[in-house]
């Protein structure tokens, strides 16, 4: 492979799914117009969703899903020892995502609600970064297909990826969408990290914050606007906690406790560079 006369190595890449819906991996397989090109610039070593061929000599590991069971912890640690670069992919991997909604209830209560007395193994919802060191966080629920390809290009070219620091609101305005706040909906676009190109407001549907917080977000101002529009703190809290994207952001309202249940220890939002193994 060669780019502007410079020889480039095909990175050896692997994809792994943990506790999640596999929608992020599917986004990659579903990019048919460029799938051939993508497969031409990377060497796929492990992609169980689409391939029976597997090898363990990969350099870049893409991890989808949260970590909830002990065997997943062991599997993830093993991947970390092999991977030179580990990318946590999607909201479940980076934030806990919707999996964290069950942390509103004690684990035993959640088990009882779904499985009754039948024994079932599960543990607390953990982000990938709660278990191993994460090198790159690719945000979104699901990840954005163009952003994934952009990231692969950066990795091949050896450029440190810089994700947008500004909020979804900027991209939304660039697309000349009608403002969904003005349409009477809750929208977290003003405080959520851009890079998705605002597909939800494009479909007249407010942003739910799946990509996590924008670096320079004015939470107070958004709260004022939402309250002015007549939304209760409960409604706002329900929305901001949906993907667990703003947990630890003090300005944002915390969900009321649910009956006898307690909120589990919050998964703190870590900004770039703060990940620890």
């Amino acid at each position: 492979m060669n780019y502007l006369g410079i020889p480039l190595e095909k990175p050896k890449v692997a994809f792994f799914g943990f506790t999640g819906c596999e929608g992020c991996q599917l986004q990659i397989a579903n990019k048919e117009e460029t799938l051939g090109d993508l497969l031409g610039v990377i060497e796929v070593k492990n992609f169980r969703l689409i391939s029976s061929d597997k090898a363990d000599d990969y350099d870049i590991a893409f991890i989808e899903g949260s970590i909830t069971r002990d065997d997943e912890v062991a599997r993830l640690r093993k991947i970390r020892t092999q991977a030179k670069v580990l990318v946590a992919m999607g909201a479940c991997a980076n934030l806990g995502g919707v999996n964290n909604l069950r942390s509103r209830f004690p684990l035993e209560e959640a088990k009882q609600a779904v499985y009754g007395d039948h024994p079932i193994a599960s543990g607390p919802v953990r982000r990938v970064a709660d278990v191993v060191r994460v090198d790159i966080e690719l945000p979104g629920c699901p990840i954005s297909k163009p952003e994934f390809e952009w990231l692969v290009r950066q990795l091949i070219l050896g450029i440190e990826p810089q994700f947008p620091q500004y909020p979804v609101c900027v991209e939304c305005k660039q697309r000349l969408n009608s403002c969904v706040l003005d349409l009477g909906q809750i929208c977290l676009g003003p405080v959520t990290r851009a890079g998705c190109n605002a597909p939800c407001p494009r479909n007249r549907f407010g942003c739910w914050g799946c990509r996590g917080p924008a670096e320079e977000a004015n939470y107070q101002s958004l709260l004022e606007i939402l309250r002015e529009h007549g939304f209760s703190d409960r409604q706002i809290a329900e929305r901001v906690n949906f993907f667990n994207a703003f947990n630890g952001v003090e300005a944002m309202p915390v969900w009321e406790k649910n009956g006898s249940s307690q909120l589990s220890a919050p998964v703190q939002v870590k900004l770039k560079g703060q990940n620890e193994s």
């Binding site: 596999e22 029976s52 609600a113 739910w208």
Partner: protein, 429 residues
């Protein structure tokens, strides 16, 4: 059953590839006897039914669509429709049409993904679609054209293929415009010849001959091939209304599966494309019937590998029916409300949807503030697990008796699991 193979055979497939989610196959043959033959579901549970409790009902479609990355349109629809039935909301007719178009786009996307990317490598004797890019570029070109259209149609009708946002409680957040429908219609018309070429390809790829008579459960057609709501039917003669779905599912737990299993009249039943084909053949689009005829597929088929052929037949149905619905939409006035206004009340709503992998049920119960009190989701693959297990137990001794070697038995067992297009993470949810 006595089998010919003398030396002990041990087949362990951990995390079978080219299926969605995590499952294992265990096969053991000793002294000519089958000592073990099982399908094991090891996916981690996510507890969606617990998560839903305490949420506002209008959040249901956004959450339940996260049950599955492949059939998220079906889950969003099932969640929205369960909420609408709990609240007594009437979805505007035009939005119902757009929903069916979104559903058809998902069915085409999911079926072509399965047929070309997950099944075809077995039939072409390779490990994945990646080598097929080099050896059979025309097959990949076909797949990308069909899937490309399906994804574009999903984007237009549902907002996105994976995790759609346009399907919400009350209707659709947005309707497609004439100026968007017309180019999509041209693209749809352009993929019809590709579909017939795909049919010619799959006619040449032989599927294993194995039959095990089983019960098939699906929505019951009534004037049309059903996808969204209506009565429930089994090939053993059970018929129920949508609200009585629990009569059809009878979920139970076993130690070898983190997914719940289901049964009705026998030890197991099957749902999915073949169940729909067998139960509702008469309502298929005439062109889909022609395609079935060319494939030699006629109801009832008891060969589980025919799930794949039925999927291809359904691709014809959804493409030809989409063409008709888009023509209707082009005649309709789109400047009308796409959503019924939300009015909260206490209630219970059940929704049955034919997801790509089979019949899917969501049930939501709300209090007078519209807060979800209890929820239940019964997933197609959860209903198929027991049938897969019993198919394996019936098929493996036959293969061993034929003198088939370990490697081929392992491969065939994986093909059998794959034929059902299982969505394992969905089934555990």
């Amino acid at each position: 059953m006595k089998v010919k193979v003398e030396e002990p055979v041990k087949i362990e497939v951990e995390h079978i590839a080219r299926v969605e989610g995590h499952g294992n196959i265990h096969i053991g043959i000793e002294n000519g006897e089958l000592t073990e033959c099982s399908w094991e579901v090891v996916e981690t549970p996510r507890f969606f039914e617990a998560m839903l409790r305490g949420l506002s009902i209008e959040m249901a479609p956004m959450l339940v669509s996260r049950i599955c990355g492949i059939c998220s349109i079906s889950h969003a629809l099932a969640g929205a429709r369960a909420a609408e039935r709990a609240l007594g909301l009437e979805v505007p007719e035009i939005s119902q049409k757009v929903r069916l178009l979104a559903k058809h786009a998902e069915t085409l996307q999911s079926h072509t993904l399965h047929l070309f990317f997950l099944v075809a490598p077995d039939l072409l004797n390779v490990g994945s679609v990646i080598p097929v890019l080099g050896t059979h570029p025309e097959v990949i070109a076909m797949a990308t054209r069909l899937k490309g259209y399906a994804n574009e149609a999903s984007n237009l009708f549902a907002g996105r293929t994976t995790q759609p946002m346009a399907i919400q409680v009350g209707g659709m957040t947005k309707l497609p415009r004439h100026s968007q429908l017309k180019p999509l219609l041209s693209e749809l018309e352009a993929i019809i010849p590709t579909l017939w070429t795909a049919l010619d390809l799959f006619k040449t790829l032989p599927l294993p001959a194995f039959e095990r008579e089983t019960e098939f459960v699906s929505l019951r057609g009534n004037g049309h091939y059903p996808f969204i709501g209506g009565d429930l039917v089994s090939s053993d003669g059970v018929q129920r209304g949508e609200d009585e779905y629990r009569v059809m599912t009878n979920e139970y737990l076993v130690e070898w599966s983190t997914s719940k299993l289901a049964r009705l009249s026998r030890e197991s039943f099957a749902v999915g494309a073949l169940a729909r084909f067998n139960n509702n053949y008469q309502w298929l689009h005439p062109q889909a019937k022609v395609a079935a005829g060319e494939l030699g597929l006629a109801p009832p088929s008891y060969n589980p590998f025919h799930h794949n052929l039925a999927q291809l037949v359904e691709c014809f149905h959804v493409v030809y029916e989409s063409e008709e619905i888009i023509h209707e939409l082009l005649e309709a006035d789109w400047r009308q409300p796409s959503m019924a206004p939300l009015a909260l009340k206490a209630g219970v709503g059940v929704s049955a949807i034919e997801a790509p992998r089979g019949i899917l049920y969501h049930s939501l119960e709300t209090d007078e503030n519209g807060t979800i009190v209890s929820a239940d989701c019964v997933i197609p693959t959860g209903q198929n697990h027991a049938n897969i297990h019993h198919d394996l137990q019936a098929m493996v001794p036959l293969l061993a008796a034929e003198g088939m070697g370990k490697e081929m038995i392992g491969k065939r067992a994986q093909m059998l699991v794959r034929a059902y297009d299982p969505c394992i993470s969905c089934s555990v949810h």
